[in-house]
Symmetry: C2
Subunit: 256 residues, 2 copies
């Protein structure tokens, strides 16, 4: 299968990492073979699995700047079929160092060739920018999930992310599709949430996942215990909503 | 006075814009002369005052790449003593274009010389990164406010922002100080919030502002009406907390 999915949105703090970590874990719990790649120098997805990025010598940074293969970099997690390609601060240098590299947009795509068939799903958690790291993710990916926080400012940048995806589709990766829009931190009691949902459904039509991810304290507590929500608080609304989203993602992937 | 304050945190979505917009408005309401500079290509601070960045020809981008002065770029707002230096998507190009410019770190500082005495407070809203735009803000500023969301991931990157501030202080701007740490989106009912507040106070000691900014729906609704909270919902907890924070910022500025 080797479904490669990038989690992208240049707006900061909108739930990219929370979505990447919990989708990966929700698919792994039902024995799908999953790889989570942390492409953010903040290394939140790495920390979300309790891995201390600061003490690791081989991270995704080394993947970009040396000949080391992915197989030598992935780290097992407490979930049997889930592996993480960790990140740390050194990745900050990559945005600048990639600029002068030949086929700089294709580095991640080429390296992923080696492991594509070893995993059913490969998720790439992206930083809050549309620089060369995110471009590498969009070139390597088959599809994109865009988490959208139900807030006014979160609506402002949607045109840009769609623009970039179309640019990449027309230049480097003709098979790139939008897998779906994930509405997150949903609080149906507020007008703002309902208004944002209406606007997003207007704009993206049937691309919007049916599963809504509620604002749920367990989702923000879980990373402080180094666990995805399904392990930290498996009966919580947050954990269950990501299980439902994972089912939807898997069902859509099998159809395409 | 001309107190130049940068609002900085590379972690995304932690309340930088909300803090910049509402501090600026809270000081302007009591007749302080205030300039808000939007240094983020997402242009959320611009949208927060109902200004449509897409239709403006002269923005902060032109400030960096041409000889135009700040006086020709500032836009009045519905608040008599508050002006905005707007942004839009064109600013995305600046991060790359600045790389080869002479004294690229000092461009904003030099341009601000012209207007420093026309304002009591100048706030600079920064993007979620520590690139050349944020460096320009840190070189131009006298002090920095770091908003910290009461979440686990928000703690991860604190070492980095403090590191950058010290680097700038030692190289380009010896008078740069931390004006304070603003704890935002506080919900005292949760363990996570109380834990984060404890850790932040441990790390930053008396640099933490006494005013806590609660999570308050009016703060996230206000930008959809193009107004700061003090004009949209003046009696809300959110608006009042920023009034208190503004008082604290002003008091500290007069002492130093
Ligand atoms: N559904 C939710 N309910 C409650 N809290 C959430 C939810 N989703 C995310 N959070 C919290 O909101 C904050 C932002 O989420 P997250 O870090 O996943 O966003 P991000 O888009 O990855 O941020 P960045 O742009 O910095 O990479 C985190 O502290 C996270 O724990
Ligand atoms: N105290 C608060 N209560 C409720 N919502 C808030 C509060 N502060 C900010 N928000 C909302 O949280 C979201 C993130 O805040 P904001 O956009 O100000 O963060 P930022 O750090 O400027 O983000 P970016 O990194 O993208 O620039 C916004 O939708 C905002 O309306
Ligand atoms: Mg993230
Ligand atoms: Mg902002």
């Amino acid at each position: 299968m080797g479904e490669i999915i990038a989690i992208v949105n240049q707006k900061g703090g909108v739930g990219k990492t929370t979505t990447a970590v919990n989708l990966a874990a929700s698919l792994a719990i039902s024995r799908n073979r999953v790889l989570l790649i942390d492409l953010d120098p903040q290394a939140n997805a790495t920390a979300g699995f309790g891995i201390n990025g600061k003490i690791i010598t081989h991270t995704v940074y080394e993947l970009f700047i040396s000949d080391v293969g992915i197989k030598d970099l992935v780290i097992p997690t407490e979930m049997k079929t889930l592996y993480v390609l960790p990140s740390n601060e050194r990745l900050i240098g990559a945005e600048v160092e990639l600029v002068d590299m030949p086929s700089r947009e294709f580095i991640l795509k080429k390296k992923l060739e080696q492991v594509k068939d070893d995993f059913d799903f490969i998720f790439i958690d992206c930083p809050p920018s549309l620089g060369l790291l995110t471009v590498n993710a969009l070139v390597a990916a088959k599809s994109v999930i865009i988490p959208i926080q139900c807030e006014y400012y979160a609506l402002e940048g949607l045109g840009r992310i769609v623009g970039i995806i179309n640019q990449i589709k027309n230049s480097f990766n003709s098979s790139l599709e939008i897998a779906g829009i994930a509405l997150v931190m949903v609080d149906l009691r507020t007008n703002l949430t309902r208004e944002v949902i209406r606007e997003v459904k207007n704009y993206f039509q049937d691309k919007v996942f049916k599963t809504l991810i509620p604002r749920n304290i367990r989702l923000s507590e879980a990373p402080s215990f180094g666990k995805p929500a399904i392990l930290y608080a498996s009966f919580s609304k947050g954990a269950r909503s990501y299980l439902n989203l994972a089912k939807e993602v898997k069902r859509n992937a099998e159809k395409s």
